[in-house]
Symmetry: C3
């Protein structure tokens, strides 16, 4: 880890240093799935927002697993076209019915209060209260998730069924919140590699008790960081745990000098549901990260979707804004807005599964493994094929009709290693898995037939 | 209207000057359809050919609606590889049967005489007459349309049924025509815009009593000119009413210095039948006019066809010859030769419909509106998204999950306005309508976030 | 034939010199098919390998038809990464059963001995013999084809049925072979054309009694050479009759200075079975040879397959290695490994058909005819269409609605002859046959409207 990674933390686990391929071959996905799900459960009750103690508590819990650095950016700081907002905190919130019974209680669900609600403590009639209550008529049992960032307002969310049952009368309404000068908080971790070229992994930490969006992303990023820190790596990996939008804008604004080092990036969100994996391409459309993820998905044996970049979604919007145009894609399972539980209380602990988290982990790791090991090689014997047989790396050529994938891989690598094709390009052109191609390249390099 | 448009006429209607969008929003398509159909009806009886009084009468009638300039080019004028032919005129033509009854009469249909027939007045037996009679055996009730340009011949056209019923005997045959030194006549109108960059609209005026091919094109061009003349325009519009082939060759030959000004062009033909709209791309294949028309058709909600350029068809053949390669496409409904009524008496007043003419008008106007308002912009705040919420041009971003097209349009315009994408490109990439994209660009420009 | 073709032989048949089109129009494919099949039959019994008398006898028989030059390259010669191997020859080989009966005899099938088997003459028990016997359990009546190049081994091939019937006991085994310093033998023929630009036709001659793979390729190359030698040609044609892999590597190694002359090339293999034609593209993917062959197949009226380059197959592997990347494709019917008879005794005289050979001949000749006659032209009258009517090369334009392919071809050639489109490009763009396009170009050139 060189000077270029100033301030970054890395490893220190004292674990034996292994390669990403060894990790992939040896890691227990069951165990990793359970670890990630445990983190989701631990973070679930916390009332997070784009600023405040909820984010800090979240980062503290993550720090038990990875050596995250917490950054605090003061309210009022200019970040490009934006300003870091006041810090919002909440201690308590409830509604008491005319009989004095608490019918809504922040302690029961962090979704009950509209995020960034101003403080209030008053008694009011049902009619007035209703104007501040959000429900979902079409999903009468679910509590919706609502925010009032950058507005001055207050409100409650509850199930439609509950609201319909409210009787006329006087209600006591309490929101013991504060909106004051403070900080925007985010977490960062850099795991140093052999080079200062970076892979960016970003995930948003601003949502309250919603599991898929985005405790799943937090858990996956944490899991990846935990395991990558045990490895010998080519790239340095920068993990960001940011409040959505204002967080990535703040980070970009304060780290412009870092950006040229970012070679590849992934935003992680909604990665724990049981749906198929969805990859959203970077704005560039065919960056190496795009090719790597799509390659992994294509060879995964599972259904998947690949969608083109649109300037809507998660923080890839900021990373891919035209002034940066970073090669950052977004890995999801079912995309935001495409499942009914999205932004409701139904996105709870039953909606995400350890196995789905583990599958997302495995696919990420495979894609990173492609990036780690991709390179363009030059065939040192470009005129005709070399005689592989006499080197013992190829069965005598009379038996090639039984040639398996790895024999074809040798021929593909030799044929296309003219400096214009990376191994990933060769894998795509040949239809073979990247691993098979990379193994062939290693074998040929060992025998002096290929050079990076 | 500057010096570059010397000789061009424009406006003078004394109408209030409005924008093309206001026109689109306020024009009554019913009324425009009826106006165009009325012009078709008025022009229908005239016996037109590539030269002669028929064309002059046609242009005079059009002049009642738009301030066309008539050009007369003398017989014998060299126009590239061609020579302007002798002028052909006809006063009368008939066939009298052995009983002295007029069985064919030019006054009843201008299709009865083969265009450019030499004069004749003789009595002849049926056998001889038959060698000069053209019919359609497979459509026994219809009269075909035939020409003898650049040949020395004469002939009549009639229905097959009529010919089969002719009895033996002596027939009096009269064609009172003349083929003499004279002129080739065409009409031209330039409507000046803010710039001397031009949009060319060309249509052929050489066919006799055939409604779709091409009184429909004449009516549409006239309608467009009539309404465009009331507008504030970016481009100057050049309308050409030409005899097919020899007319466009003549115009090109005499206006080579004008050609660099032509940025976009459309040939209009067969635009009044009830079939779906067909657009034939320019030779360039993906010129801005091609993208604009295809965009409009794709968002029209109606079926349509787009065909690639072929060097056969109407005057786009000349405009797209390799020495010019102008960006000129061709707008049709059912293409020439693809409907049985083509070049027969069945292409009459019932074959074209006011509603179809109006629909073609509307699509043309929409495509021109795209050209008028297309441009490449630069995002002045290219690093991250600007904070649209605080400017009041965007609902607070917590509510974006209800984001409608115009919210997405703002994001698309910001994301792709890097100088490499025109608004039309952004519309195509986003799948949104050009108007929505343009409105977003206007709003962002107003707020100082975008610059052309 | 200039200095650049030093050492090359050509023509000398004393035949009248005709064009490739005249040949295509006049040649009897029946006769050519019979001639090629006769050569297959004549070559069938010979026991060929990558070196030795079998190749020499094969070339001698071909020399009766075309004036091939035989090259002998000594054992031990370094050819890029390879070394020319020892020469292998075989006089006799048999197995006698315990009763002294010859149950396997080289004279009955050249497939019975594993190619490059070391000499042996011993009596052994069935168990030991079996370790040296190759059969096909799933095709119990067929004898497989096996080789032991670059290994030191011996073996026999027989039908599975025969092996299963062998009784215990002592067997006399004889392989009277020799593996000694000698030569690698190949044949070469250059037919001189007007230019020293070359078309390479290569075929492999190392397989014993297998008809489709590759006596068919030998017969087709011989037939093509025989007929091309009677023609006036634009290109020079270089025919190579090579042992597979080591032969092409040897030739490439010794002819590097020739390579810049090679403009197009075809490897011929498996061209006599009754399956559809398959063309494998060159590594470049869209070289002129690729476009020409695909054009011919598309217009052939027969089913066909086009496959992308893969670095596996025949000698195109060497010609398309990255150090050369020559524009060489491969013409086959059913590809190697895609028919069960491949590399077995079932690829015998019944497996190839005179008609299939003739069809492959015809398609090759058509593709070569495209290459011979392809060129980019310039329209000398690029502004508007020229008046074809007055030159008598076009029916008066009023009748164009009946325009046939050759009328459209005139328009296409005029429209696209801007120096950027070859006639083959124009044929592909227009969907018309190359011949129709070329005829149009000739007609226009005759009339001074077009120039190469």
């Amino acid at each position: 880890m060189g000077r270029t990674l100033c301030g970054a933390h890395s490893r220190g686990y004292g674990l034996s240093v292994i390669s990403i391929v060894e990790l992939i071959n040896n890691v227990s996905l069951d165990k990793v799935g359970r670890e990630m799900y445990r983190l989701v459960s631990e973070l679930y009750p916390i009332c997070r927002s784009i600023t405040g103690e909820g984010v800090r508590q979240t980062l503290e819990i993550i720090k038990k697993r990875i050596p995250l650095v917490t950054h605090e950016v003061p309210t009022g700081t200019k970040v490009f076209d934006w300003t870091v907002p006041k810090e919002w905190n909440i201690k308590d919130a409830y509604i008491k019915n005319p009989k004095g019974e608490k019918i809504v209680d922040l302690k029961k669900s962090s979704l009950h209060v509209v995020s960034y609600s101003l403080p209030i403590h008053r008694v009011m009639r049902l009619n007035e209260l209703r104007e501040h209550v959000f429900t979902m008529a079409d999903r009468p049992d679910w509590i919706p998730y609502r925010t009032a960032y950058f507005k001055e307002a207050w409100g409650f969310c509850m199930s439609h069924k509950q609201m319909m049952a409210l009787e006329e009368g006087e209600y006591e309404v309490l929101i013991d919140s504060s909106l004051e000068e403070g900080h925007l908080t985010y977490g960062e971790l850099v795991i140093g590699g052999r080079t200062s070229d970076e892979v960016l992994i970003s995930t948003h930490v601003c949502h309250p008790s919603l599991c898929n969006d985005n405790l799943s992303g937090i858990a996956l990023a944490t899991g990846l960081a935990h395991y990558l820190a045990t490895l010998t790596l080519r790239y340095s990996y920068r993990f960001l745990f940011l409040p959505s939008t204002i967080g990535s804008i703040t980070w970009l604004s304060q780290n412009e000098r870092t950006l040229p080092r970012i070679q590849h990036g992934l935003v992680l969100a909604c990665v724990g549901d049981s749906g198929k994996t969805t990859y959203k391409r970077s704005r560039r459309g065919n960056a190496e990260i795009d090719k790597a993820v799509v390659h992994v998905l294509r060879h995964s044996g599972a259904e998947f979707d690949v969608i083109d970049f649109v300037p809507y979604g998660y923080d890839e919007r900021q990373f891919c804004s035209p002034g940066f145009n970073l090669p950052v894609g977004c890995l999801m399972r079912t995309p935001h807005g495409c499942y009914p539980e999205y932004h409701t209380s139904a996105d709870g602990l039953n909606f995400v599964q350890p196995a789905a988290l583990a599958d997302s982990f495995s696919k990420c790791l495979s894609a990173l493994s492609v990036l780690e090991r991709n390179a363009a090689y030059v065939n040192l014997n470009p005129k005709c094929e070399p005689q592989l047989g006499r080197r013992g790396i190829f069965r005598s050529y009379s038996e090639r009709s039984n040639g398996a994938d790895n024999e074809m891989a040798l021929l593909w690598v030799l044929n296309l290693s003219d400096g214009n094709h990376s191994l990933l390009d060769i894998a795509e052109r040949s239809g073979l898995k990247f691993d098979v191609i990379r193994n062939a390249a290693d074998l040929l390099t060992e025998h002096g037939l290929l050079k990076q």
